[in-house]
């Protein structure tokens, strides 16, 4: 069994209007030293698999098929044996 932590990030070259709006609000709270706010996705799941390579291939396929959109997003993940 693996605990899988998946990080999905919108490419930095693509405007993130949510991040921009949050950045403006942080700045307006007085934190003028904050910039480049990005809002990304973090997904956690458990994978009932013992073989590391199989688990890795599984997660890659799930990310490519469903969790990340290749037009917009890149993903990375960490596998931890449970």
């Amino acid at each position: 069994m693996f605990l899988v932590k998946i990080f999905i990030k919108r490419r930095r070259s693509i405007l993130d209007p949510q991040g921009k709006a949050v950045e403006h609000r942080i700045n307006s709270l007085g934190y003028k030293n904050v910039s480049s706010v990005r809002i990304d996705k973090y997904i956690e799941l458990e994978l009932n698999e013992n073989d590391f390579t199989k688990a890795k291939n599984n997660v890659e396929k799930i990310c490519n098929d469903l969790l990340a959109n290749p037009h917009l997003e890149d993903y990375s993940f960490e596998l931890t044996k449970k």
């Binding site: 209007p17 709006a21 469903l66 969790l67 917009l72």
Partner: protein
């Protein structure tokens, strides 16, 4: 001929599309449930607007793997006519039946009003009832209609006449002010290379009944029907 309107959990323009096809245009129309595994001999399929699966993860991303979508993808790959409206457009992009992706509106607002659309290609099975360069007025209602594709894809779309509608002003000029959501090059609707799959953010089914004072949307539905006459 027979139309199919797909119903996903969270679709909310399915009855509008059904009403226009069945009651206003008098065409045989049936609902296709997301769990169905057959298109019930439909000759054309409409993916309606709404918020399928609550727009969770990304708009259209979960609907794309519904059992009915396997059939819709097969149908489209065999040349069948598929129209995606708003959330339907998002699902078609997620299914890779159409290029590009629809992101959150650049201004972060849910935009809901009439827009002007310039017809860039009136030779598709969905726009033959429109004149060349005609300006249609059709309402939008979306929070995630910001169309994006990379430069190479946009060039392909232009070279193959796949950009069908662009947001414009009342004089047909493609301006920043007439772009409601930040879409690249004011793109409001695109088709695939083969021209049998078409997606658009505006809602033609909301302006296809004379009672509502605008019937510009009928041109799209009539165009589809005329392919079978």
């Amino acid at each position: 001929m027979k139309f199919g309107v797909v119903v996903f959990p969270g679709s909310n323009c399915d009855y509008d599309a059904y009403f226009i096809m069945k009651k206003i245009l008098g065409v045989e129309t049936t609902f296709l449930f997301h769990k169905d595994t057959s298109l019930k001999d439909c000759n054309a399929v409409i993916l309606p607007g709404g918020f399928s699966y609550g727009d969770y993860l990304r708009t259209g991303s979960i609907a794309r793997f519904s059992p009915i979508m396997n059939e819709v993808i097969k149908f489209a790959n065999n040349g069948g006519l598929v129209l995606g409206i708003c959330n339907g457009f998002q699902i078609l992009c997620e299914s890779n039946l159409l290029p590009g992706v629809l992101m959150k509106n650049e201004n972060l607002r849910f935009r809901c009003f009439d827009v002007n659309l310039k017809v860039l290609n009136n030779q598709t099975p969905f726009t033959k009832e429109c004149g060349p360069g005609e300006i249609l007025t059709i309402p939008i209602a979306h929070g995630e209609g910001n169309y994006f594709a990379n430069k190479e894809t946009i060039k392909e779309l232009e070279d193959n006449d796949q950009i069908v509608f662009k947001y414009c002003n009342e004089y047909g000029e493609i301006t920043n002010d007439s772009n409601p959501n930040g879409s690249v090059m004011n793109i409001a609707g695109v088709c695939n290379q083969r021209k049998n799959v078409f997606g658009l953010m505006p809602h033609p089914e909301r302006c296809s009944d004379r009672t509502l004072g605008n019937t510009d949307g009928l041109k799209i539905f009539k165009s589809i029907i005329n392919n079978f006459n």
